[in-house]
Symmetry: C2
Subunit: 201 residues, 2 copies
DNA sequence: GCTAACTATCTATGGGGATAGGTAGCTGAC
DNA sequence: GTCAGCTACCTATCCCCATAGATAGTTAGC
């Protein structure tokens, strides 16, 4: 049910087509949410049917056309309602930690490779999020600046602060995951008596 | 595809019925993985069809019976193969951070309630995981001690260490989430000029 | 004028999981 | 002896999502 609200969040900035939204998911919001276009297009149709959006045909070149969606009052209400309503926390489902609990079953090198992949994954995310924070701070985030353009000046500080707060939190989490995996690498060496420095990379 | 491997992980300790496994998910492993019985029973059937498990009918009372599954060699191979194979990291999908990025849309009190719920959720998990680590350290975890009973003494240190490593990592992550939410509560107060201490709980 | 790369949208299939039931036997307390 | 609560297993439906692929128009460069 969050895809719908992620779409609403993006559409509160400006009207967009399904294609725009799918690009926005890949680029701007991608590291808080993500969805393929095959999910986005039907969901937009459903949201229009539910009255949250209105879609208008926009010509595109001589014969082409595209469908641009903008949020209705009902859509804004739904988004606000979702924002005010508590989240339901479902139980954990975490393959990385599941595997970690049984690492004695893996070859030491395979175990090391997994933890290095864990580090690489979160390091990559960390770099992207750091860049995001930099964009927020320097006013070079296209979506954010557009959003600020439509919002009263009195809200600018909050809007910017919450975006920053989110990404800073994600960076800290990524750093925690990296530290955890690094401790794991040390542990594997200890348990396997490999005192020599093994990593080539 | 991880449910299958979570089930294999549990069944490497000792043969169990679907019911046992569903209880084990609720109790022991529940905070690394979780599944309802309606998922477990059919998956066990499929795993048996795939040759990973063998199920035997065990009488239960005068007329009742239950089906106990034990892992085959093929099952052990499959589990080892999964353990040696790298995880694929799919893109983030994180409702809590998604909402955090748009907190300006929520009423300040609703925003506070969300972050408090975030804290409560991770605090609860933290307490359970701390208890788990205590059980690992004091040798009072039934599953772990059974597992150690079937494993050569030379592996005991690794087995215990990896379990501990997993839960300690989860505790640290929970603490990070709590800290993040607490910073959020401060931020909300700052942005809303509420200097007085508001929380009744 | 053709081709490659991009914009735009949609369908189909299948897996995993949540939720909500249903059936039946067993055990122990009152 | 019967009722509550537990053990045991199963089915059905729906939703979300991943993956793959189909179609068609546009733009720009060569």
């Amino acid at each position: 049910m969050s895809l719908r609200h992620a779409l609403l969040a993006l559409l509160t900035v400006e009207p967009m087509t399904g294609y725009d939204l799918s690009k926005a998911f890949q680029a701007s919001v991608s590291h808080v949410w993500h969805a393929p276009d095959s999910q986005i297009y039907p969901e937009l149709r459903r949201m229009e049917a539910d009255g949250l959006l209105v879609g208008t045909e926009v010509p595109w070149g001589p014969r082409g056309k595209k469908r641009e969606y903008h949020v209705t009052e009902a859509g804004l209400d739904a988004f606000r309602a979702w924002m005010n309503e508590p989240l339901s926390y479902t139980r954990e489902r975490d393959p990385a930690h599941l595997k970690a609990a049984y690492l004695e079953w893996a070859e030491p090198d395979a175990a090391r490779a997994q933890l290095r992949a864990h580090i690489a994954n979160f390091d990559e995310q960390r770099v992207e999020w750091l860049e995001k924070v930099r964009e927020i701070d320097t006013g070079t985030s296209a979506m954010l600046e557009k959003r600020l353009g439509h919002a009263p000046a009195s809200e600018h500080a909050s809007i910017r602060a919450y975006k920053r707060y989110t990404y800073v939190g994600l960076i800290a989490r990524a750093e925690h995951e990296i530290e955890w995996a690094e401790r794991g690498l040390v542990l594997i060496d200890e348990l396997n008596g490999t005192d020599a420095a093994p990593p080539a990379d």
